[in-house]
Symmetry: C3
Subunit: 470 residues, 3 copies
C-alpha cells in the first residue's frame, strides 16, 4: 500500500521538460562560448616549454600548478562534499542537498570561468580567455557564493529555480568581484566580502522574496534524524579542515599562502571552543546542539577570510574566531527566529549566522587590519607585496587602503541584497508548502523496507490482514 510519506504529486513540480531543457541549452551554449573564447594559458599550453626558456624559468616546478593544485583540490572538496553534505542534515532532503549542490556547482563553474575570464584573464592580443589552475579555483570560489545562497532556500525551490539563481548569481558575482578587487583594489584572499557577504545576502533576499507564510505545513520534515546529523558532520569537517586551503588558495606565493593557512587554522580552532561553550550555555540542560556544532564552528574561517593574508598575527586570528563562535551561535538561538517571524526571511540552513554576519565581520576586520598596517610590521617590500601597492596603486597607503576595503564590503552587501530582490523567481516547479523539504518531489526515493524491524516484518508478513483490518 501507499505509505503516508508518499504525497500525491502536485502537477507543477513536474520538471520533466524544464530541467532537461535548461541543462541542454545551457551546456550547448557553454560549448559554443568556450569554443569561441577559452584557451589554455601559457602554463597549461604545450608551448610552456618555450615559455620557460624565454623567461629563464629553471624548472617545471615553477609552474603555478605546483603552487596551487593541492589547495585547489581541497577547495574542490569543500564545494562538492563540504557544502553538499553540510546540507544533508534534513531527515528527508539528503538527495536534494547533495545532488542539487552537485548540479548547481557543475553548472556554475563553467559560467564562472567565462564571466571571471572576461574580467580577469582576457588576452587582448587575441581576444581569448586564457585559463590555468587559478581560474579553476576562482570558478569554485564563485560557485561557493551561489551554494551559500542555496542554503537559505534549501528544500523550498526546484532545481530549475536553483539553476536560474546560479546563472544570475555567478554573473553578479563576477561584476562585484571586479569592482571590489580591481576597481577599488581591495584585497580579499578568502572572500569574506566577495564570497560570503555577497552570497549570504543574495540568498537571504531571495528567501525574503519567496516567503512562504504556511511553511509550517511541512515542519515535520524540517528537522534532522540521528544519521542525517552524522552525514552533515562530514560536510562540516571537510569545510573546517580545508578552510586554510580556501583562504590561502589564491594568496601570494610564499609567505602569503603560508600565513593565510596559519591564520585560518587558528581562527577556526578558537571558534570551536566558543561555539561549544555557547551551545551548552544556552540549552536548558547544558546539552550541545548539533545545529551549532555543524555550522557555527565554521564562522571563524569566514571571518578571517579577508585578513588571512595580512599580518593579523596569531593572537589576532584567535580573537576573530573567539567572537565569531559566540555571535554565530547566538544567531542560531536568537536571530534566526527573529528573522523568520519579524523580517519574513526563512533561512533553512541559517546562512545568516554562518556566512552573513561572519562575512561582514571579516570585511570589517580586513579594513581595520589593512588600515593599521605599518612598514615596521610588514617591511617595506612586504607591505608593497601584500597590498599590491604597485602600478596605478603605487601611491596608496594603508589608511587609504582601509577605506577602500570598507567600500568593498559595501559593494558586496549592495550586490547581494539588490541582486536577490531583483531576481523574482517565477513558478518553475517549486514544491507546495506541504511538500517542502521532501526528496519525494524531485527524486525517485527507494522504499526503505529494510528499516522495518524483524518483529514487525514477521507480524506483517505472517498475518498481513491483521493490522490492515484495524
Amino acid at each position: 500500500g501507499q505509505s503516508p510519506r508518499h504525497h500525491p504529486e502536485i502537477s507543477n513540480t513536474n520538471i520533466k521538460w524544464s530541467l532537461p531543457a535548461v541543462c541542454f541549452v545551457w551546456q550547448l551554449s557553454m560549448i559554443i562560448l568556450f569554443g569561441v573564447f577559452v584557451r589554455y594559458n601559457e602554463e597549461s599550453d604545450t608551448h610552456w616549454v618555450d615559455y620557460r626558456k624565454e623567461n629563464n624559468i629553471t624548472s617545471d616546478i615553477e609552474n603555478d600548478y605546483y603552487f596551487r593544485y593541492p589547495s585547489f583540490q581541497d577547495v574542490h572538496v569543500m564545494i562538492f562534499v563540504g557544502f553538499g553534505f553540510l546540507m544533508t542534515f534534513l531527515k528527508r532532503y539528503s538527495f536534494g542537498a547533495v545532488g542539487f549542490n552537485f548540479l548547481v556547482a557543475a553548472f556554475g563553474i563553467q559560467w564562472a570561468l567565462l564571466m571571471q575570464g572576461w574580467f580577469h584573464s582576457l588576452d587582448y592580443t587575441d581576444g581569448k580567455i586564457k585559463i590555468g589552475i587559478e581560474n579553476l579555483i576562482n570558478a569554485d570560489f564563485c560557485v561557493a557564493g551561489c551554494l551559500i545562497a542555496y542554503g537559505a532556500v534549501l528544500g523550498k525551490v526546484s532545481p530549475v529555480q536553483l539553476l536560474v539563481m546560479t546563472l544570475f548569481g555567478v554573473t553578479l558575482f563576477a561584476v562585484e568581484e571586479y569592482i571590489i578587487l580591481n576597481v577599488l583594489h581591495a584585497k580579499d584572499a578568502g572572500g569574506s566580502m566577495v564570497i560570503h557577504t555577497f552570497g549570504a545576502y543574495y540568498g537571504l533576499s531571495i528567501s525574503w522574496v519567496l516567503y512562504r507564510p504556511n511553511l509550517d505545513k511541512s515542519k515535520h520534515l524540517n528537522g534532522s534524524v540521528y544519521h542525517s546529523d552524522v552525514f552533515a558532520m562530514i560536510g562540516t569537517l571537510f569545510l573546517w579542515m580545508f578552510w586554510p586551503s580556501f583562504n590561502s588558495a589564491i594568496a601570494d606565493h610564499g609567505d602569503g599562502q603560508h600565513r593565510a593557512a596559519i591564520n585560518t587554522y587558528l581562527a577556526l580552532a578558537s571558534t570551536v571552543l566558543t561555539t561549544v561553550a555557547m551551545s551548552s550555555l544556552f540549552e536548558k540542560t547544558g546539552k550541545l546542539d548539533m545545529v551549532h556544532i555543524q555550522n557555527s564552528t565554521l564562522a571563524g574561517g569566514v571571518a578571517v577570510g579577508t585578513a588571512a593574508e595580512f599580518m593579523l598575527s596569531p593572537y589576532g586570528s584567535l580573537i576573530v574566531g573567539f567572537f565569531c563562535g559566540i555571535i554565530s551561535t547566538l544567531g542560531y538561538i536568537y536571530f534566526s527566529p527573529f528573522l523568520e517571524e519579524k523580517l519574513k526571511i526563512q533561512d533553512t540552513c541559517g546562512i545568516h549566522n554562518l556566512h552573513a554576519m561572519p562575512g561582514v565581520i571579516g570585511g570589517i576586520v580586513g579594513a581595520i587590519s589593512a588600515a593599521a598596517a605599518t612598514n615596521t610590521v610588514y617591511g617595506d617590500l612586504g607591505l608593497e607585496n601584500t597590498f599590491d601597492f604597485t602600478g596605478p596603486f603605487a601611491k596608496r597607503v594603508p589608511t587609504i587602503q582601509g577605506g577602500y576595503q570598507a567600500a568593498g564590503l559595501c559593494v558586496a552587501l549592495c550586490f547581494g541584497i539588490g541582486g536577490g530582490l531583483v531576481l523574482k523567481l517565477p513558478i518553475w516547479g517549486d514544491p507546495a508548502d506541504e511538500n517542502c523539504f521532501d526528496d519525494e518531489i524531485y527524486w525517485e526515493v527507494p522504499e526503505d523496507e529494510e528499516s522495518v524491524p524483524p518483529i514487525l516484518a514477521y507480524n506483517n508478513h505472517m498475518i498481513p490482514n491483521k493490522h490492515a483490518d484495524m
Copy 2:
C-alpha cells in the same frame, strides 16, 4: 528469535580456511619477492643527496615526490573511498562493498608493484625493481582496473574469488599496459584504454561466465535504501572531485599535468548537466534517479582520460563530457536491461555504462586528437614532448600515432574480454542465488535493535507475549 533476514548458512560459503590461506600464502610470497626484487629508486634512497650533486639538481623540491605526491594521495582516496563507497548503494552489502574493495586493493597493489616493476622499473645493472612515487600511483591505477571489474560481480562472488580475479587481472593489466604504452607507444595518461576499457570488459566477461539465471531470488536485496544512496554519493563525489588528479597524476611535469587537470575538470562538469537532463527526461514524472547521478556523472572523466594530456582544448573537453553524460545515462536506462536479458551479462553496478562505453569513447577521442595534432597547435618542442617522439619513436608523426592509439584500444578490449573468458572461477565460496547481495554471508552483521521505533519497543517489551501469540 531468528529474524526473517537471517538466511540459513549454506555450507559452501564458509571461507574460514580458503580466505586465510590465500591471504597468508600471498602475503608471504610478496615478502619474499619484494626481498629479492624491490628496492628504493634514486629519489627515495638515502643516496639522493649524492644523486642530487652528481646531476646538478639544485633543490630537494625537484624530487619527483613533490610533483606527484598530492595527486597520488587523491588517487589513493579514489581507489579506497571512491570505489569503495560508490558500491555501498545496495541496502545490505555495504560491508562487502567497502570491505572487499579494501581487501582487493591492498592485495592488488603489491602484485602490481612487482608486475609493473618488471616491465617498467627494472634496473638492468642489478636486476632490481627501483620504486618511487610514480610506481605507487601506477599500482593504484592497476588495481583500479580490478575494482572496476568487481563492480560487475558485486554481491555475487566470494572474497576468495575476488582475490583470484585480482591476481589474474593485475597480471593481465601489466602485460596489456606494456604492449599499449611501450610496444605501441600509445599515450594514455588517464587510462581510458589501459584501465577503464580493460577493467570493464574484464569484469563484464567474468560476469557473463558466472551468469546466474535465478538471480531474481535475491532481487529484494538488489536495490538501495535511503541512507545507502547517501553513502554511495560519498564515493561518487570523491571520484568526481579527484578525477583531475587521476588523469594528471602521471602526466608530464609542468604543462602536461596542468592541462590534464583542466581538461578533466571541464569534461566532468559538462557530464553532470547532461546526466541530470537525461535522468529527468526519461523518468516518467521527470524525477531524478540516484543511480544515474551516482554513476553517469563520472563518465566524462573516464572518456577524457587518454586525451587529457593532449591539446584537446577546453571546449573539446566539454564536448566529450556532454556526450558521455547522455550515453552513460541511456546505458543505464536501455542498455543494462538488454545486457542482462539478451546477452546474459548481469552487471550489478552498471560498469558497462560508467567504464566500458566511456572508456572506448576515450580511446577513440585519444586516437582522433592524436592524429589531428599539428606543430602549429603544439609547437615543435611541445609536440615532441607530449607524444614522446624521441629515441626509437623520433620519426613518428601524429597521423601514425593516431593509428597506434587505435591499436592500443583494440589491445585493451582483447585483453579485457579474453581475460575474463579464460578465467573460469571455480566454486570458491560464492553465495547461493538467494543469498546474493547479502552481507550476512561473509560478515558478522550487528542486530539493528536501535531501528525498532519507540512505540514498538514499548509494546514489545511490556507485553512480550502479545505479538508472539498472534
Copy 3:
C-alpha cells in the same frame, strides 16, 4: 510519550556551567599567551621576501609551505575525520565520537603550539615562538596522542573530563617529546613512540583509574548497528589512506619524505591481508568482523612510524605490516577481554590493539633498524642526514643510536602510564553506568520519527489510542 531510550537525567551530567567555563577561560588564556609569545616565522612573515634575498633562495617554491602543506592537510583529515569517524561505530554515540573529537582536537592544538613551541621553536633573540607549517603539523600530531587516549574512555567520560585529559596530555606529550627527540636524539618521524605508545598507555591507565565494575548496565549500547559500522569505515579509510602523509609529514625534505611514504604504503597494504586472514580464521564460521577491519588494518601504519624514514627497505615494511595485522587482530580476540576481566582496563575502542602494541613494536623496529644502519646501505652523507649525526651528535654511530631509540621507547611508556595514573579525574559530569555510550546525556538528539515504518506510522496515527491503551 517517553521512549525507553530516554533515561532520566542524572543531575551530575549537567555540564551547563562547567563546560562553557572551561572553554571560555581556556580560550581567553590562549589569546593572552599567543599575544605574548607567538609570532610568524621567517617563512610565513611578510619579511620572507627579504629573507629570501639574504639567503639566496631562488624561488618561493623553496618555502617550507610547499614541501609540507599537502601532507599537513592529509594529517588534518586524519585527526578530525579519521579519528572522529573511526569512533562512530557505537550505535548511539556518533555525536559524541565525532563532536567531542572535534572539541578536543581544536582545544589541544592551541596548547600544543605553545608547549611544543617553547621547546622547539623559541627564538631566543626576542623570546617569541615563531610558527610555520611544521608547527601546525606537530600540533596535530600532539593532539593525536590525546585522541588515541580518548578511544579508551569513549562513552564513559564527560566533555569536561576530556578537556582536562587533553590539557594534561598535551603538556606531558611536549615534555616526553622533548626528552625523546632532543635530549636522547632519537628519531621518530611517524611517532610510533612519541604519539602512539605514549597516547595509548596514557589512555589505558586513565581507563584503569576510572574502572567501572557495573559497566554492563549499558552494554546494550556498547555495540554497533549496520550504518554506524559504515560510518566508522569512513574514519578507517581516511586514516589508512593518509597514513603515508602522517609518517612523512615532518620527515626530511627529499628522499626522507619520499621513503617514509613508500614504507608506510607497503606496511599498511600487508596489514590488511593478515588482518582479514586472522579475522576469518578466528570467527566460528569464517565470517569477517568489522571491528578487526576497522582497526587492525591500521596497525602497520603505527608500527612503521619510527622506522619509516630509515632504509627499512620495501620488504622490511611488508614484514612489519604482516606481523602487526596478526598481533592486532589477536589482541581484539583474546587480549581485550583479558584486559577488561583481569586487569580492569575497559578499552572501548581497543586502542591497546591498534596503538599500544603496534606502537611498542614500532619503537623496537626503529631501534633495531637504526642499530643495523651501515654506511654501505645509507651512504656516508645519507647516514649523517637520516640520523642527524651533526653538531653535538656528530660522533654518534648507529649501534649507539639504536640504544637511544630503545631508551626513547621507555620514556614514552613511562610518561604514558605514569601520566594516566597521576591524573585522577574527579566527578566532572561523567555519566552513570547505565548511561554510558549514550548521546542523550550530552546532546540534543532528534526523535527518529522517520524510522517508524509506514505500516506502524499508519496504525499509530489513525488509531492513536489503540496502542496507548494496551
